[in-house]
C-alpha cells in the first residue's frame, strides 16, 4: 500500500486518537487528577473504592467516564448492528487475568492509556513502563504463536449480554444520586474530578469512537510484532502527540505549570524503575492473553461480550485486592506486597500461557 492509501485507511482511528488525546490532557485542566486525565485502571479502582470494596480513602469516586465508555459502546453497537451477546471462553481465567492487569497497573500507577498521558505530561517513568509493556506483550505473543487461546465463546441471550450495560446504568444512577453508602474521597486523586456531565459526555464520546475504531492500547503494540499491522498504533501515536501538544498549548509546561520533564517528583507517580517495568510488563502479558486493554474490555462488555464483562469485574476485584493488601504503589514508591503480587501475577500468566492450548 502506498503512503496515502495507508493513511486514508487509518484516518478515522487517527482522528479519534487526536480527539481522545486532546480530551485526555484537557480533562486535567478541567478538574481530573494531574497526569490522570483519563486512566481506565485508576478510574475502575476509584469505583471499587466508592463501593467500599477497598478503603483507601484518597481513591474513592464513581467515575462517570467508565460508565460512559461502556454505555457509549452499548448504544453504538446497537446502532451499528454489532450487539452480540456472547460468552463462555474461560471466564474464570479471564477474571483472574483481569486482576493481574489491575495489580500490575496499580504497581506502576496507571493503565497503558495513562502511561501515554504521563509521558505527554513529561513523566519519563512512562518510558520504563512502555518498555515493560512491550516486553510483556512479546511474551504474550510467544504464547499466541504456540497456539494459546482461552477457548470459544457461544452466543448468549440478550439478558446475559445486558447484565454489564445494566450494571453501568446502576453505577451511573448511584454516581448521580450519591446515596450515603457510597464512599467519596475528601482529599487526594479521588476528590479531583470534572463536573459529572463533562465526565459522562467524554466517556460516551470515547465509548462511541473506541467501539467504531476498535481502539486498543495493548493490541496496538501487539499487532506491530505479531502481524506488522500499524492500524491500531496509529491511533495510539495520534493520542500521544495530541496530548503532548495540548499540554504545551494549555500552558501546563510553562513556569508555574503542573508538568515538567523528568523521572522525579511527577504527579501520582514513583520512580522505582524495575517495578514500573515489571508491573506494566504484567499488564502487557495478561492483557495480551485476555485480548485487549482495560478500555477495550469495557467497550466489548458494552457490545454484549460477557467474557469481557467478567474481565471488568476482575479489574474491580483486583483493585480491591491491591489496596486492601498493601500491593498498590503510591508516590512514595512500591508497597509491602507489590513485589510478591507482581511475581504471583507473572507466575499465573506463565502457567496459563503454557497450559491453555485448546484447539
Amino acid at each position: 500500500m502506498g503512503m496515502i492509501s495507508s493513511l486514508m485507511s487509518k484516518k478515522w482511528i487517527i482522528l479519534f486518537g487526536l480527539l481522545f488525546g486532546t480530551l485526555g490532557a484537557l480533562a486535567v485542566n478541567w478538574g481530573n487528577p494531574a497526569n490522570m486525565g483519563i486512566c481506565v485502571a485508576c478510574f475502575l479502582r476509584d469505583i471499587s473504592g466508592a463501593l467500599g470494596f477497598h478503603r483507601a480513602a484518597v481513591v474513592q469516586y464513581l467515575r462517570p467516564e467508565i460508565m460512559g465508555f461502556a454505555l457509549g459502546a452499548f448504544v453504538t453497537a446497537l446502532a451499528f448492528k454489532e450487539w452480540r451477546p456472547r460468552g463462555g471462553a474461560s471466564p474464570i481465567i479471564r477474571f483472574i487475568l483481569g486482576m493481574c492487569v489491575m495489580i500490575g497497573a496499580l504497581v506502576f500507577l496507571g493503565c497503558p492509556i495513562r502511561m501515554l498521558l504521563r509521558l505527554a505530561g513529561g513523566d519519563l517513568n512512562g518510558l520504563t513502563a512502555l518498555a515493560g509493556l512491550i516486553f510483556g506483550v512479546i511474551i504474550g505473543i510467544f504464547f499466541l504463536k504456540r497456539g494459546f487461546n482461552l477457548g470459544k465463546a457461544k452466543p448468549l441471550t440478550n439478558t446475559a449480554g445486558g447484565i454489564m450495560p445494566g450494571m453501568m446504568v446502576v453505577l451511573l444512577v448511584l454516581a448521580i444520586a450519591v446515596p450515603a453508602f457510597i464512599f467519596q474521597s475528601e482529599s487526594g486523586p479521588g476528590s479531583q474530578f470534572m463536573p459529572l456531565i463533562a465526565s459522562l459526555a467524554i466517556g460516551l464520546f470515547v465509548g462511541f469512537g473506541a467501539q467504531r475504531t476498535r481502539y486498543c492500547s495493548v493490541g496496538a503494540w501487539r499487532d506491530i510484532f505479531l502481524v506488522k499491522d500499524f492500524y491500531l498504533i496509529s491511533g495510539i501515536l495520534a493520542f500521544l502527540v495530541a496530548a503532548l501538544v495540548t499540554n504545551y498549548i494549555a500552558g501546563n509546561f510553562a513556569a508555574g505549570g503542573i508538568y515538567h520533564w523528568g523521572f522525579a517528583e511527577q504527579p501520582v507517580s514513583h520512580a522505582d524503575h524495575l517495578w514500573n517495568f515489571l508491573g506494566m510488563g504484567l499488564v502487557g502479558i495478561a492483557a495480551t492473553q485476555i485480548g485487549g486493554c482495560p478500555l477495550r474490555n469495557l467497550i466489548l462488555s458494552g457490545e454484549g461480550d460477557t467474557d469481557a464483562g467478567v474481565t471488568v469485574l476482575g479489574y474491580i476485584a483486583g483493585a480491591a485486592v491491591a489496596h486492601n493488601f498493601a500491593i498498590a504503589a503510591s508516590p512514595a514508591g512500591i508497597n509491602t506486597w507489590s513485589i510478591a503480587a507482581v511475581a504471583a501475577g507473572w507466575a499465573f500468566c506463565l502457567i496459563i500461557g503454557f497450559t491453555m492450548r485448546k484447539a
Binding site: 500500500m1 454489532e82 452480540r84 456472547r86 471462553a89 499466541l144 504463536k145 487461546n149 482461552l150 477457548g151 470459544k152 465463546a153 457461544k154 452466543p155 476498535r214 493490541g219 501487539r222 499487532d223 505479531l226 502481524v227 506488522k228 499491522d229 492500524y231 485480548g291 485487549g292 466489548l300 461480550d305 467474557d307
Partner: protein
Amino acid sequence: MSVEVDVRGFSCPVPVVKTKKAMEENPGKEIKVMIDTQTSVQNVTRLGKNAGYSVETSQDGEDYILVMKPGK
C-alpha cells in the same frame, strides 16, 4: 481446494493468529475463513490484504465467510 479456517467464537487476536498460521502453512492456496464478529472480519481482511491476498466477504446468516485468494 481451499483451506478452511473456522474461527467463530474466538476473540481477538486468535482469529488473526489462526488465519496467519493457515496462510504460512499453505502458501499459494486459497483460504476460506468463517468468522462471527465484524471486528475479526476487519482484522483478518487487513491481514490478508497486507500479505497480498484478495479478500471477498459474504454473509451467511449471523456469520461471515471470507474467501482469500493469494497474489490478486
